[in-house]
């Protein structure tokens, strides 16, 4: 049995490659490794939901020019009314949520120009 296993690794048809510090290894992946999310840089022009919840208020409209102190939305999550403010001064290009919408975490809610 042991020999069989060693033989298998010599042929290694089902093994995958993993590169660590310039060296390439034959191995297998775990499900968790295969399902890992690729990192993307946050876009400052996009306001995303930081927690899943329900939109309770929309206080701006498309085309509005807002400051960082102007409240955009109220997102209710875990019994808390979370006020959402803009990341920077700017003009709102589009609003993608309506009052009553349930949004998952990381959903695009408002986009700036």
């Amino acid at each position: 049995m042991t020999e069989k296993k060693a033989m298998k690794s010599q042929e290694a048809p089902e093994f995958k490659k993993l590169e660590i510090q310039g060296n390439t290894y034959l191995t297998t992946y775990t499900r968790k490794y295969e399902n890992r999310k690729n990192w993307t840089k946050a876009d400052p022009k996009k306001v995303m939901s930081f927690i899943p919840g329900t939109i309770r208020q929309v206080l701006v409209k498309e085309g509005d020019v807002v400051e960082t102190t102007d409240k955009l939305l109220v997102l209710e999550a875990m019994k808390m009314m979370n006020s959402i403010y803009p990341p920077a001064h700017g003009r709102i290009k589009s609003i993608l949520v309506n009052v009553g919408d349930r949004v998952p975490k990381g959903a695009l809610m408002i986009e700036f120009e």
Partner: protein
């Protein structure tokens, strides 16, 4: 005789309580493929060894018409008995009685048996099958959970605590198992989560089944909350018995020593590991080639499988094995495998079990997800656990031991008592390709044929440094040994470490990177 009548009365009362929630509820329980609480205890303990306590305990709740409700045993069975002759304390929640919900008296029964277990210094087994807090009892059920968590914590490292999840275990209730040493789960039966599918659906609009959210497979493979996974309750009980045979009853003792048995001849240690460090193999076969009867009892087999942990006997004495697994993710260290190794090392240290480390790793898993998940603080747990452990620590470097991974995996520098290396060992700051690219960057760039030069330099580096002799020349490795010599040299090392004592500075406790 008057007493006869009283004994009949006792018998009648006992029988009533033993029916739990009644025939219908028992039928329902069995239809779900689940045993009743008392049958579970019977199946797990030695025949006729179980003594039940607090059978006639009744709840005292008065709100919400609870006064009218009779809940036999208040939904939990407690007692003591033996497993393979070894005394244990046990509680089993009875789902047939009010869904095994936890009220004040229910929790008092559990804490009573927990106190017994700690006082008598015997293992505690908890069988969880409960809908959660008994809402009618309000803050009293929360108090009950808190009292249980406190005892779990105080008993930790003194007596073994085993949690068996044989039904739902949701909300705050999950924290008792999480505080115990070993969690056993069974396919289709175990369900563990903080927030259930219904709440997730109403609050978040995400639809997921109980099984996909917190079933046996999820906790054995994804979360690492469970240590042992079985297809049936019967198989789960066999695993518990096997585990108990390998560990001591408390932290003052050593595990029972059995007669020595040789490893099976089919595991030929010299033929398992390929010479080429980039080729995979199953490190568990190396363990099997070393331990008595080739019997390796693996823990958390399916979670963070790039690192293998478990128990095996050496000359009859239980040892804990910590091994890189080149078969999975090349055997790298990462967030999960660091947590897995560190906790197991601390377990072995708490219960006087020598640690044997088999090393073959290329380093840490690269990736933004790993860095952002805190691989620094998780990886530090291994360094902490090895450094702090005072049980005998024996290390065998089979093949690669590069960079930080070399230090982390039970190196001399973290106070391994003995470090051995096979002739195939490569102890170096990094793999030959990476190292040559950095050290000879200029030569390679300026060469007429850079690829050729790179190959040449890699070869040069390999010859000079990809071996165990540089580390051996500095005394970081005690002996370079042939694979066939491994078992005997480890047996010798365990023998001479029998009376090991280490004095650490006095402190209340350290601050490990939790």
């Amino acid at each position: 005789m008057a007493i006869k009548k009283q004994i009949q009365e006792l018998q009648k009362r006992r029988e009533e309580v033993q029916m739990g929630g009644g025939e219908k509820a028992i039928e329902k329980q069995e239809a779900m493929g689940k045993m009743t609480a008392r049958n579970r205890i019977k199946a797990l303990l030695d025949p006729d060894s179980f003594q039940e306590y607090d059978m006639f305990v009744q709840h005292e709740a008065r709100d919400f018409e609870m006064a009218k409700k009779v809940l036999h045993g208040d939904g939990v069975v407690i007692g003591s008995g033996t497993i393979s002759g070894q005394p244990v304390c046990i509680f089993a929640q009875d789902f047939t009685v009010a869904g095994g919900s936890l009220g004040l008296m229910h929790s008092r029964k559990i804490t009573k048996i927990m106190d017994h277990a700690l006082k008598m210094k015997v293992p505690l087994i908890g069988i969880n099958d409960s809908g959660g807090a008994r809402i009618q009892e309000g803050v009293n059920s929360l108090a009950g959970y808190g009292e249980i968590f406190f005892r779990n914590t105080i008993s930790s490292g003194v007596i073994p605590q085993i949690s068996v999840i044989l039904g739902p275990c949701a909300g705050g209730a999950v924290y008792s198992p999480a505080l115990t040493d070993y969690v056993f789960v069974v396919e289709n039966i175990s369900k563990m989560f903080i927030t259930g599918p219904e709440v997730i659906k109403t609050v978040l609009g995400e639809e997921i089944s109980m099984e996909d959210l917190g079933g046996a497979r999820v906790h054995s493979e994804i979360t690492g909350n469970a240590h042992f996974y079985a297809l049936t309750e019967a198989a789960c009980f066999s695993q518990i018995k096997k585990l108990l045979s390998l560990i001591p009853a408390n932290n003052d003792r050593k595990a029972d020593i059995l007669p020595t048995r040789q490893p099976k001849p089919d595991f030929r240690i010299g033929e398992i590991v390929p010479d080429d460090p980039s080729l995979p193999y199953d490190v568990r076969n190396v363990v099997r080639a070393i331990v008595d009867d080739s019997d390796f009892f693996e823990i958390q087999e399916n979670w963070a499988a790039n690192l293998v942990i478990g128990f095996g006997r050496m000359n009859g004495e239980t040892c804990g094995f910590v091994c890189n697994q080149p078969l999975v993710l090349a055997g790298v260290l990462d967030v999960d495998s660091s947590d897995k190794a560190a906790r197991f090392i601390r377990y072995c240290d708490a219960f006087n079990i020598p640690i044997i480390t088999l090393v073959d790793l290329p380093g840490y898993l690269p990736g933004v997800d790993q860095e952002h998940a805190g691989v620094i603080r998780h990886g530090a747990k291994i360094l902490y656990a090895y450094s702090e452990a005072t049980v005998p620590k024996l290390t065998v470097i089979l093949r690669k031991a590069y960079g930080g991974g070399y230090i982390a995996m039970g190196s001399r520098h973290l106070r391994a008592d003995f470090v051995f290396a096979w002739p195939t060992a490569e102890v170096a700051v990094m793999g030959p390709e990476g190292a040559a690219n950095i050290i000879f960057r200029k030569e390679i760039m300026e060469a007429e044929n850079p690829d050729e030069m790179r190959q040449l330099k890699v070869k040069e580096y390999k010859e000079k440094f990809a071996n165990p002799y540089v580390a051996a020349s500095k005394g970081y490795i005690d002996s370079v040994i042939a694979p066939e010599e491994t078992r005997n040299i480890l047996l010798h090392a365990i023998e001479v470490s029998g009376e090991k004592s280490v004095f650490l500075p006095r402190k209340k406790h350290g601050i490990p990177p939790f």
